[in-house]
């Protein structure tokens, strides 16, 4: 027994050290291969080192000891925040398929400049939440490939796992030009460009399927999920809220990255996104209210106070931005469009948490709250995304306008210019 404890301790130390070194490397490259210049920069380094160090401990513990020892999951409450993270991350990633659709299919020039940052954010959010979170959450994470060979088409989860696999491939094709441009591989770039449009169409189809199917996952628990959230409309509501989340995420990501990395961004980009979000928000709120009224479910707000508060906050977060986006003189301004997007992103995430966690508590009689290890792993996965995005923004041509039409690239102002591979321009 003593030896096992020693092995576990060694395993944990190695894990923590590896993660701390990774954090130092990440910070080093993020700050342009130099030590932090300011106090705030130093604080950022410290934060990431502590977070990833704890993450090393958390991950090694999870793989060494199993789910029971490190999570607060139980037979009453088998799905925790790691599963909820899958729902949240995939909803957040909806901006990717939405922007790709608007750029490649609808050919809306306004959105050309934000395509690359949004697709990359979606790619990372998708990989880390769908594949990353599942690799820690699945009891037999090493069997994650099984749905490829063992088919069960009556299962929503089977369909979701296939959508995840295929859509990861689609996102790779959508992301590939960024890498190919960076290394100046023109011939491969032309090939990828030739197959992009069918892939984007597949991507939208797959997203429609599995954004709605994440809602269908919970159709099977009519006696466990509180009627505030359980409705036969779950798949439709999940799809519409994913679209809303997609618009909000596109605003959020593009505004934030263009500000942080000092890139010019036209105000009408955010304004158009906010305009696209408005009818969907109205439709979604109308469906929710009509559905709750038709099923006489409002009373559960008062029967279960915690869930009632959570439900109210969720609805308010989706309601308040309407006042901004409905007023054109406000939504036309970047600051206000950004301010409207944040509560929407948070609201949709809260909706997923309510369905997968808070709304399941009372009727299953459980008191699940994630353990510190569960929370640390979630924060780690999120920080992986932020760090990789930051590195990509620094070292990849993220703010070049993509070559959509196959002719010469056009920038947002309508002027024609030629993309020079970064290597040639001596930018890096």
């Amino acid at each position: 027994m003593n030896e096992i404890n020693w092995i576990l301790a060694l395993f944990r130390i190695v894990g923590v050290l590896v993660m701390i070194s990774a954090a130092v490397c990440a910070c080093w490259f993020l700050s342009g291969r130099q030590p932090p210049k300011h106090l705030s920069g130093g604080f950022g380094w410290l934060l990431l080192i502590v977070l990833w160090g704890l993450g090393g401990y958390a991950l090694t513990s999870r793989y060494a000891l199993g789910l029971g020892a490190v999570t607060n999951l139980s037979d009453q409450f088998p799905w925790g925040i790691w599963k909820a993270l899958v729902l949240c991350g995939i909803a957040f990633a909806a901006g990717g398929f939405l922007t790709a659709c608007m750029v490649y299919i609808f050919r809306i020039r306004t959105f050309y400049p934000i395509l690359r940052p949004v697709v990359l954010a979606a790619y990372l959010s998708y990989m880390l939440s769908a594949s990353g979170a599942l690799l820690v959450d699945l009891g037999r994470y090493h069997q994650i490939w099984r749905p490829i060979f063992y088919w069960q088409h009556h299962s929503v989860l089977f369909e979701v796992s296939w959508c995840v696999m295929l859509y990861t491939g689609v996102l790779s094709v959508e992301f590939a030009p960024i890498l190919l441009d960076r290394f100046g591989w023109t011939r491969t770039s032309h090939f990828v460009h030739a197959i992009t449009v069918p892939f984007v169409i597949c991507g939208v189809v797959l997203s429609t399927l599995h954004q709605s199917s994440l809602g269908s996952l919970f159709l099977i628990v009519p006696n466990k999920l509180l009627p505030l959230w359980y409705t036969p409309l779950l798949p439709i509501l999940f799809f519409i809220s994913a679209l809303i989340s997609g618009f909000a995420m596109a605003i959020f990501v593009s505004a934030l990255t263009f500000w942080i990395f000092h890139q010019p961004l036209e105000p009408r980009v955010l304004a158009s996104l906010a305009k696209g979000m408005t009818p969907l928000l109205l439709l979604y709120l109308f469906l929710r209210v009509a559905d709750l009224t038709a099923r006489n479910a409002w009373v559960y707000m008062f029967l279960y106070p915690v869930q009632g508060v959570s439900f109210t906050v969720e609805m308010l977060l989706l309601l308040l931005p309407l006042f901004v986006v409905l007023k054109t003189q406000w939504s036309g301004r970047r600051r206000w469009a950004f301010a409207a997007a944040i509560p929407v992103v948070v609201g949709v995430i809260l909706n997923r948490l309510n369905v997968a966690w808070i709304g399941l508590l009372p009727l299953t009689g459980s008191h699940y709250f994630p353990s510190w290890i569960e929370i640390t792993v979630v924060l780690n996965l999120a920080s992986f995304g932020v760090v990789i995005f930051g590195l990509a923004a620094r070292y990849l041509p993220l703010f070049e306008h993509p070559n959509i039409s196959g002719h010469r690239p056009v920038d947002a102002t309508g002027g024609v210019r030629v993309i020079v591979p970064l290597k040639a321009s001596g930018h890096v």
């Binding site: 199993g66 029971g68 659709c101 037999r140 994650i144 069960q152 169409i201 269908s216 159709l219 009727l363």
Partner: protein, 285 residues
Amino acid sequence: MISRRKFFQVGATGALAALGVKELLAEPEVDPTGGAGVLVDLTRCIGCRACENACRVRAGFGGLPTAAIGYGAGEGKLSFRSRTFIDFRDGGTKPNQPVKRQCMHCLEPACVSVCPVAALEKTAAGPVVYHENICIGCRYCILACPFSVPKYEWDNALMPRVGKCDFCADRQAKDQSPACVAACPTGALKFGKRGGLLQEAKARLDSQPNRYTSIYGEDIVGGTSWIYLSDIVPEELGFPRGLPKEPLPALTWRAISKLPFVVIGVGLALSAVFRWRTRNGTEQP
């Protein structure tokens, strides 16, 4: 004259049939009377825990501790190692009523329908069985089961398993009754064909209205292979409230079965938009 909509409907249906999708879309066929079943007559149960002991021995987890008379208490709940147990219900009209708990072996099990890799299977013989070497550990079955039966081996770090009553499928294959039924000293458990057992339950209910008042398992979530006959209302026996009579997989299937049309619809619509936006070989403003 054939309308445009009709034309597309016929076309889409024909295309699907040609692809063999129609077969995939058919509702799963279930024989409503066939398969093994057990009739649990709670008025005959004395709460001796002989079934619980036999189950643990057969599953290889060791028998129950002995008490002054009979068997002592086990875990007192379903768990990975405790696949059946005697639940003593307090607070009802009949205090201390023993109720045997185990997998109900639904005719259309939610756990089987949600498993993404078909690790759970409703066999033609009746039992819902778990193939542990296929399982990926997603725990959807644990969430989906309306009776909260499947339990998890939480302390296994590498190959955790789902634990649930398998109706002694191996014993049934050898024409033996399940271990719990074989151990029952009072005849509270009767093993047989579900259809016959249901008829017998109804006959007992009709002939002895003073002794029995309710049957549970006939039509709840589409019917279960285990049927409870008792003198107490099912809610007081601790069965979950708010379950529909409809099989739960139907709730999901209503959504899944529409997906092929979503694929075709969205795909065609987007292709059309793309053609329109890039017509004449040039980009439209």
